[in-house]
């Protein structure tokens, strides 16, 4: 049966994906920092779905630990989901390098570091799927969150390059741009209902994309059009907008 490694497994999207893969009988590695929550979740998955599920400590920021972390995953994963990220605070990040760097690390540097290892391994094995959870915020930089957005833009480009490189080895790369998602992070924010997806929806779309070898997906179709419009506004006009 399939083995799935989820990096950043305590987000709601990651948990929904873990449940859906467990329902299909996959072995699940839950990687992240929140040991208490993820150990509990691994027990829950094993009890509810009768599968093997394990917590593995993983810190995206600590790039030096990535090689030994990945070596420790056995059996080797058929699917790797890169779900970690950090929204951060744009206003703080503009003045504070630590916050700014944290955003870049968590959304770009850390992801590149671990996925390099995964990619090399899958390339030699000539099989595997990598799913990267990026963001619509990476489609165009806006004043309200361009530090996060630019890190995600970097990640989106990285994934597309990786897809291009690994195609000939039969390894598939999926880029997911969820848009607004109703999660514990956004709880309390007023999100526009038609543009807001449920974590379960995001998970099933991305699993479907992995199965069907789709390359880049938005979760709700509206987002494709919203982002198309946002991307097509000429820069001369765009710079004057309050976005």
């Amino acid at each position: 049966m399939k083995c799935v490694l989820i990096l950043g497994a305590s987000s709601d999207i990651a948990k929904a994906a873990a449940r859906q893969y467990a329902r299909k009988g996959a072995t699940i590695f839950l990687a992240g920092r929140n040991e208490e929550a993820l150990t509990g979740f691994s027990k829950d998955l094993s009890i509810r779905h009768n599968v093997i599920a394990k917590f593995v400590r993983f810190d995206a920021d600590d790039v030096k630990s990535h090689a030994s972390f990945y070596k420790g995953i056995s059996p080797v994963p058929d699917v790797v989901i890169c779900a970690f990220g950090y929204l951060g605070d744009q206003a703080v990040a503009q003045n504070n390098w630590d916050e700014c760097n944290r955003i870049i690390q968590a959304n770009y540097t850390g992801a590149v570091s671990i996925l390099n290892l995964v990619a090399n391994d899958m390339e030699t094995r000539k099989s595997g799927v990598i799913i990267g959870v990026s963001s619509v915020a990476g489609d165009r930089g806006r004043q309200s969150n361009y530090i996060y957005g630019s890190a995600k833009a970097g990640f989106t480009s990285y994934l597309s390059g990786l897809r291009n490189r690994l195609f000939k080895s039969g390894v598939h790369v999926v880029t997911v741009k969820p848009g607004f998602v109703d999660t514990k992070m956004t709880n309390g924010l007023k999100l526009p209902a038609p543009l807001t997806a449920q974590p379960d929806q995001v998970a099933s779309k991305m699993i479907n994309a992995a199965d069907k070898k789709k390359n880049e997906i938005y979760v709700l179709w509206m987002w494709r059009w919203v982002m198309l419009i946002i991307k097509s506004v000429p820069e001369g006009v765009f710079k004057k907008l309050k976005l």
């Binding site: 305590s10 208490e36 829950d44 709880n187």
Partner: protein
């Protein structure tokens, strides 16, 4: 950034403007509680209590704290986080030959809610309330510590948490015993009662039956007062099943659910439509005693088949009035209350009668006697009418179920729960500065430092 939301429970009355917090670990919970030490918090599960018990300015939702941590199919024990719902548990335990030891009339509640209300089911007269099956639980108290509580460890905390409506702290994890079953079916007896005397006789006759409850038509008067249908049941054994069901005894095929898509105009449920419904319902039931096989969903959760049925009562919502009367005065009290309902044409669409067995816990609702639950749409004059009923209940030594309450006056509450002083004392011990308080606890003057801004 964080904005308040309007939150209501099942009765859609009252509405609270609240901050909602979620947690997925003890560490996160501690951060939330310690981030604003001045304002009170209240735990909230699935919001299936009817009134304001899980409402307050700062709501700590358990709906992201939902791991099942242990399931021992040999001993029949489960250990889980408080936000797991009964529906989810059934999915895990029934295929392994177990059922819940006690279940309310809906499976859409959480384990935390089951403990905090010390819920009762149709088997109370034989198997007690939920707390009778708890092995131990872990509670996050106001001092930031986690206490393990059971009938032998931190006993005062255990007793005040069962039925304590979230006022001792946040229930984190619960271990409890399950019931072994051979099938997902119930052998059901249906019997008609023409009046109150007959239904009391039926309850007595079925005392040895594991499950029993009856539905009363509140519009009947005189010699027909208390006309009702009794449903009694036992878990079906393999022998009770036909060959087809025997092949897959622990599995019930999924059924389609109906949804009430929006709040219906409040006129939908009027005395006339309720009378018509009651007439049809009574007359479609078998005239003579009938024994049949139904699946567990149909037997325990008939209302869950209609999602959002609470929207039938319209925008202003409804309250459920559930009281219990001591056994020796039950008939007298029910006659009095049903007569008053009739006189005022206040008939309730759902009216459920049950017989409780003995229970003598600190703050739990059940006591030996009959309990009746009635639904009333919120409208002018209702609360005055319910105050009148409170008086009848109080004079007979009965009380009201906190989990359904949205309007009871505090002096009635303090007079009707005999061990209330001891309960209040334990709350003061574990929750001295009202770190945990709800709109209900403020109304009932159980917590004193509730700051309404």
């Amino acid at each position: 950034m964080r904005s308040k939301k309007d939150i209501t429970n099942w009765g859609k009355y009252p509405v609270a403007e609240a901050n909602e917090f979620v947690f997925d670990s003890e560490t996160n919970l501690k951060k939330i509680i310690e981030s604003s030490p001045s304002s009170p918090f209240i735990a909230r599960g699935a919001g299936r209590c009817y009134g304001d018990a899980s409402l307050g300015e700062n709501i700590v939702s358990t709906l992201h704290y939902t791991n099942i941590l242990e399931f021992d199919p040999v001993r029949g024990e489960i250990f889980c986080e408080a936000g797991v719902t009964l529906e989810e548990l059934i999915e895990v335990i029934l295929p392994k030959g177990y059922f819940l030891p006690v279940t309310p009339g809906t499976k859409f509640i959480t384990v935390g809610g089951a403990v905090a209300s010390d819920i009762h089911g149709k088997n109370h007269h034989k198997e007690g309330s939920f707390s009778a099956h708890i092995i131990y639980m872990e509670i996050y108290a106001a001092d930031g510590k986690i206490y393990r509580a059971s009938r032998t460890e931190n006993v005062d905390l255990f007793e005040a948490t069962c039925g304590g409506m979230g006022l001792t702290g946040i229930i984190l994890r619960v271990k409890f015993g399950l019931k072994k079953v051979e099938s997902a079916y119930i052998k059901q007896i249906t019997a008609r009662a023409r009046n109150l005397d007959e239904i009391f006789d039926l309850f007595e006759e079925h005392r040895s039956c594991t499950y029993s409850m009856s539905w009363i038509d509140c519009f009947q008067k005189g010699s027909k007062l208390g006309r009702s249908i009794m449903y009694a049941g036992e878990h079906a054994t393999l022998e009770d099943l036909d060959t087809k069901k025997k092949k897959n005894p622990l599995y019930v095929p999924a059924k389609r659910k109906l949804t009430v898509p929006f709040n219906l105009p409040s006129i939908t449920l009027n005395p006339l439509s309720i009378r018509a419904f009651n007439f049809l319902y009574y007359n479609k039931s078998p005239k003579n005693r009938h024994v049949g096989l139904v699946d567990y969903d149909t037997f325990f959760y008939p209302l869950d088949a209609i999602l959002h049925w609470n929207r039938m009562y319209g925008k202003s919502g409804f309250v459920q009035y559930q009281f219990v009367l001591p056994l020796d005065v039950s008939k007298k009290g029910l006659t009095e209350i049903l007569t008053r309902i009739n006189k005022r044409n206040m008939g309730s669409f759902l009216a459920v009668l049950k017989l409780f067995g003995k229970q003598d816990d600190l703050i739990s609702f059940p006591m030996e006697g009959y309990t009746l639950a009635l639904d009333f749409a919120v409208r002018k004059g209702l609360f005055e009418f319910l105050d009148e009923l409170d008086k009848v209940v109080m004079d007979l030594g009965g009380r009201i179920y906190l989990s359904k309450d949205a309007r009871m006056k505090s002096d009635f509450f303090w007079k009707s729960y005999p061990k209330i002083n001891q309960f209040a004392e334990t709350i003061r011990k574990y929750n001295p500065s009202s770190t945990f308080a709800s709109e209900q606890s403020a109304r009932l003057q159980l917590t004193n430092h509730y700051h309404k801004k």
